[in-house]
């Protein structure tokens, strides 16, 4: 057994195969965090990305401030702020703003990824040619109809590759939430390591598990990309 040495260095408390249980538990939390925050992040991306291209100064302002604040500060600080600072503010004004770790984790991750995603959405929308906007006007579409019928269907396929990168980034960023004692994969790995001191085996396993999840995520994004861009694939 290639990894068996890990169990015979004086800390033979667990056989390496027994790591799987806790690690899988952690991996599941990581998957949940990734899925929730990627979905919520995508929604935020569209809201803020579209908002930034809006002619309404209020919508535009809110979007710009959100994007700049969350791109300009680190995820770690955002996470700690939501988890540790927000409850104190709540205390001061007399509302309970304590967030469960999962909520704080998902929120911080989505807000962060949403800010980057918003720039992707804005860029893709602005890359749709002026000709298309003019054709939409000549067809007498309202601005909203233009956005949903003409612009977004052309912009979304362009967003998919950068969205894929952001989703992978998001998966990797979930490891940070172990710092607010959420039992994700990184957290479980650290627990096991403290218990067994078997760093090599544990972190090798963790490495492969993250990599496996990233592969699956990439495949999902590729599938989505093909789906939304089907019209582009048809050739004469």
């Amino acid at each position: 057994m290639a990894l068996a040495w890990g169990t015979c260095d004086g800390h033979t408390l667990m056989h390496w195969t027994e790591y799987f249980g806790p690690l899988m538990q952690g991996a599941w939390v990581t998957i949940e965090l990734t899925v929730y925050s990627t979905i919520l992040g995508a929604i935020l991306s569209f809201a803020a990305g579209i908002g930034k291209t809006s002619h309404n100064p209020v919508l535009k302002g809110i979007s710009v401030v959100y994007i700049e604040v969350f791109r300009g500060t680190s995820l770690l600080v955002q996470l700690f702020w939501l988890y540790f600072a927000l409850p104190l503010i709540g205390d001061a004004v007399g509302i309970d703003l304590r967030l469960p770790p999962v909520v704080a984790g998902v929120l911080a991750l989505s807000l962060n990824i949403g800010a980057y995603g918003a720039e992707v959405v804005r860029g893709a929308i602005q890359a749709v040619s002026k000709d298309q906007y003019e054709a939409a006007k000549a067809c007498n579409f309202t601005p909203r109809q233009t956005l949903f019928s003409v612009v977004l269907p052309q912009a979304i396929p362009e967003m998919m590759p950068p969205f894929g990168n952001l989703a992978i980034q998001n998966l990797k960023d979930t490891a940070l939430v172990s710092l607010i004692s959420l039992g994700d994969l990184a957290f479980r790995a650290e627990q096991l390591r403290n218990f067994t001191q078997d760093s090599t085996t544990i972190y090798t396993m963790v490495l492969f598990m993250y990599f496996g999840m990233a592969l699956v995520l990439t495949a999902i994004m590729k599938l989505l990309e093909r789906n939304v861009g089907r019209w582009r694939a048809v050739r004469r």
Binding site: D131, Q132, E134, A135, K137, A138, C139, N140, F141, T142, P143, Q145, S149, V150, P153, Q154, W231, R232, V234, R235, R236
Partner: protein, 258 residues
Amino acid sequence: MTDPIIKFDKVVKRFDTLTVIDELDFEVGQGEKVTIIGPSGSGKSTVLRILMTLEPIQEGVVYVDGDMLWHEKANGGVKPAGEAHLRRMREKMGMVFQQFNLFPHMTVRRNLTEAPVKVLGMSKAEARERAEELLDMVGLADQADKFPHQLSGGQQQRVGIARALAMRPKIMLFDEPTSALDPELVGEVLSVIRRLAEEHDLTMLLVTHEMQFARQVSDRVCFFDRGKIKEQGTPEEIFGNPKEERTRAFLKAVLEGE
């Protein structure tokens, strides 16, 4: 003669300091087919783009079908047109673009039904039926399920014409509809436009470099130069006996090029 359906009254259009349309007076009668010719940069496209509300004007008044286009009445005076007014006015016009500007993510059929359903509130069934009719008319009945990039340029432009007609406009604007086409594809598009001109009482405003074609389809030819109409008249007058030196020079250059 009945009131003109299009009227430019001392219209000025500037891009920064560059005056592109210079105190233009211009009228088009109901059902009239007018072609605009003239050198590059003389403001031909701009006239159409002003009408399609793609470019605002700085001075003067444009009337379409009896209403001001870029202005609306407001308690006694006039004010710049709001979006609602512009949308009402756009209903009267359809535009065919030099680069076709079809919606690439929609099938040909969808290109023809999307706006009638969403904008005019037509039922899907009716819009599809109408799309079939229009495609039949432009000779593309068998291409309804293709995407624009699967068609030749000439076919795409015929779809472009059908798309504009699907909105039942009173006025059709054509901005050099064949300039982006390979020479062998020009004919099929021109013949569609010619049929349209002969068989319908649509008002047509057409910018073109196809002089032979302009001669055949137009009731009137306007020669534009530096944002003004330098000379206008029947095709016979303009092509047969141009009065202005500029017109003669332009026609000579164009016809030599052909």
